[in-house]
Amino acid sequence: MKVAVCVKQVPDTWAEKRLRAEDSLLDRESADGVMNELDEYAVEQALQIVEAAGGEVVVVSMGPERAAETVRKALSMGADSGIHVVDDALRGSDAIATATALAAALKGRDFDLIVFGSESTDARMSVVPAMVAEILGIAQLTFAQKVLVDGSAVTIERVTDYGFDTVTASTPAVISVVEKINEPRYPSFKGIMAAKKKPVETIGLAELSLDPGVVGSRASWSVVADFSARPAKAAGVVVSDAGDGGVKIADFLAEQKFI
């Protein structure tokens, strides 16, 4: 079974994220880059699938040069090889442009499964896996809390507001996973050593035969028009209880549209 796992380098989850004044894009230089947390679960799931069924795991990432660190991290966790899509023309790509580039990188490589984390901690859109599936014309099994692979049949438990749905598709398929699915492994020291020697293919738009006009900020459907700093925290409201405390709290919550 040939499994691709798509990972994204994001600013350190705990760092303060900033938009750049000149182009309203996320400032990726000001914070350390780390592998998007949910993508670690995706890597773990891909590894588990291949450990059970045999095959190989290929890590795929689109991002600037330093995203190579994130590819390397997935390799040190146990993935077999990597594809790093890097091109200046990709800067500022929104979800659709990103999905277009990823799909081009994934196409024609005979992947049985393509695994994603269900969202990134920076953009938090959760749509790229579905878009990639749509562009590739293959099944999408998103928000999986459990994955079962049986030959060419893939069954997931898809998380819903009321519990989960059981959804089955045949390969090739795209899966996105939620954090309940597993406990990602640490890269072992041997894995870190071995990762140095694993092949990583670095490709740009030319190799993907993609027109620069279909990706990057100019091709993006969504753009940041304007932004401003978050307003300072307002002082809290003290509710004093004169027998009507419960009502006052309920009124407050209703006013804030929590209930």
Binding site: E69, Y186, P187, S188, F189, I192, M193
Partner: protein, 391 residues
């Protein structure tokens, strides 16, 4: 406050001295410590209990056990990454680092350096995986700095050996599957691999410790323990054997103590920025800034020394008296930082809510074990003058 605070190591750009791979190893151990050790260690310390079996397996899965040894399931890393791993572990707790040091640098190293091929194959893969835990018996109650006077003995009985005596302050003692025991024989001091389930072998917990409470410390007692002929480590006779093992573990402590010091200093800087007295953060007072500046320079220097000694070890030129320089200096610096930062935290400095008093108490042991501060001083004195003041 105008600028964002800088980490003490950023003052030295320590990262510029490390390779990508070394940083990757450091980061993995740091993540492991943050998720597995930090949330639990205060409770382990308070209860005087360590879930050592589980932890050993997790450390084994990472590759921490005997990580600087080649082959037999070991990770085969060089000296600096080995030191960085110890640093991160000890930033969690000296007790955890002690468990890993004793396993890898004492017990596994002894077998790796002096064992037969059969012994290596029999023990090292299980120890590297963390499935088997080892301890190391050299020190006796009356022979600490002077191990040559040890009373434990192994006498030939036919082809077998009969082991008698006792060992004291043995980390991992009551949980170990095997003990590397050094004993007097007719030929001189020899090392033995002693499975701890043999008749006549007893391990007793050392109780009422106020330091290294998240660590197992024991007394080992041997009462006519019968060992087969092939229990002896064939590769060494004399004190050179155990002392070369200690040199390995001491090297780890040079880095480890920097980790404990770093954790104290990071805690104190954060605290000083948050804690307000007389209407401003205590970090805004010159008295506090003087302490933080002094400690950061001491810690940065200790880290530079550790990395320098690590590079010497990688080049194969590190000498024992240089290990003494590192162990003496860095254990002392870390202990001084722990005490000073304890003061910065005021009353909060004495609770296990913050890591400082735990590190401070732990470092009292680290200051003494693996060669006391005094002995390392005298080793350096001997190197400088050619005169051994302790003989």
């Amino acid at each position: 406050m105008s600028k964002s605070p800088q980490h003490p190591f950023a003052l030295y750009n320590i990262d510029s001295l490390l390779s990508e791979e070394e940083k990757a190893i450091r980061d993995v151990v740091r993540t492991f410590v943050d998720s597995t050790i930090r949330p639990n260690v205060a409770e382990w310390f308070e209860k005087g209990h360590l879930p050592a079996r589980d932890l050993a397996k997790e450390c084994g899965a990472l590759g921490l056990m005997g990580m600087h040894l080649e082959g037999y399931g070991c990770a085969g890393m060089s000296a600096v990454p080995y030191g960085l791993a110890d640093l991160e572990l000890e930033a969690g707790d000296s007790g955890i680092r002690s468990m890993v040091s004793v396993q890898g640098s004492l017990a596994m190293y002894a077998i790796h350096a002096f064992g037969s091929e059969e012994q290596k194959n029999a023990w090292l893969p299980g120890m590297a995986a963390g499935d088997l835990i080892g301890c190391f018996g050299l020190t006796e109650a009356d022979y600490g700095s002077n191990p040559s006077g040890m009373r434990s003995s192994a006498k030939r009985d036919g082809d077998d050996w009969l082991l008698n005596g006792s060992k004291m302050w043995i980390t991992n003692g009551t949980i170990a599957d095997l003990a590397i025991v050094w004993a007097q024989t007719d030929d001189g001091i020899r090392g033995f691999i002693v499975p701890t389930d043999l008749p006549g072998f007893t391990a007793n917990d050392v109780k009422h410790k106020m330091s290294l409470r998240a660590s197992v410390t024991a007394e080992l007692v041997f009462d006519n323990v019968r060992l087969p002929a092939d229990a002896v480590l064939p590769g060494v006779v004399g004190l050179r054997g155990p002392l070369s093992c200690l040199n390995e573990a001491r090297f780890g402590i040079i880095f480890g103590t920097v980790g404990a010091g770093r954790d104290c200093l990071e805690t104190a800087i954060d605290y000083a920025i948050d804690r307000e007295q007389f209407g401003k953060p205590i970090a805004a007072y010159q008295l506090t800034q003087r302490k933080l500046a002094d400690m950061s320079v001491d810690l940065g220097n200790a880290m530079l020394l550790a990395i320098h000694l690590g590079r010497l070890k990688e080049a194969g030129t590190l000498r024992p008296e240089q290990v003494s320089v590192g162990k003496m200096n860095n254990a002392r610096i870390a202990l001084e930082i722990a005490r000073e930062t304890r003061g910065i935290l005021g009353g909060n400095g004495i609770t296990l809510e913050y890591p400082i008093i735990r590190h401070m108490n732990n470092l009292e042991s680290v200051y003494t074990y693996e060669g006391t501060n005094e002995m390392h001083t005298l080793v350096i004195g001997e190197a400088l003058t050619g005169i051994a003041a302790f003989r």
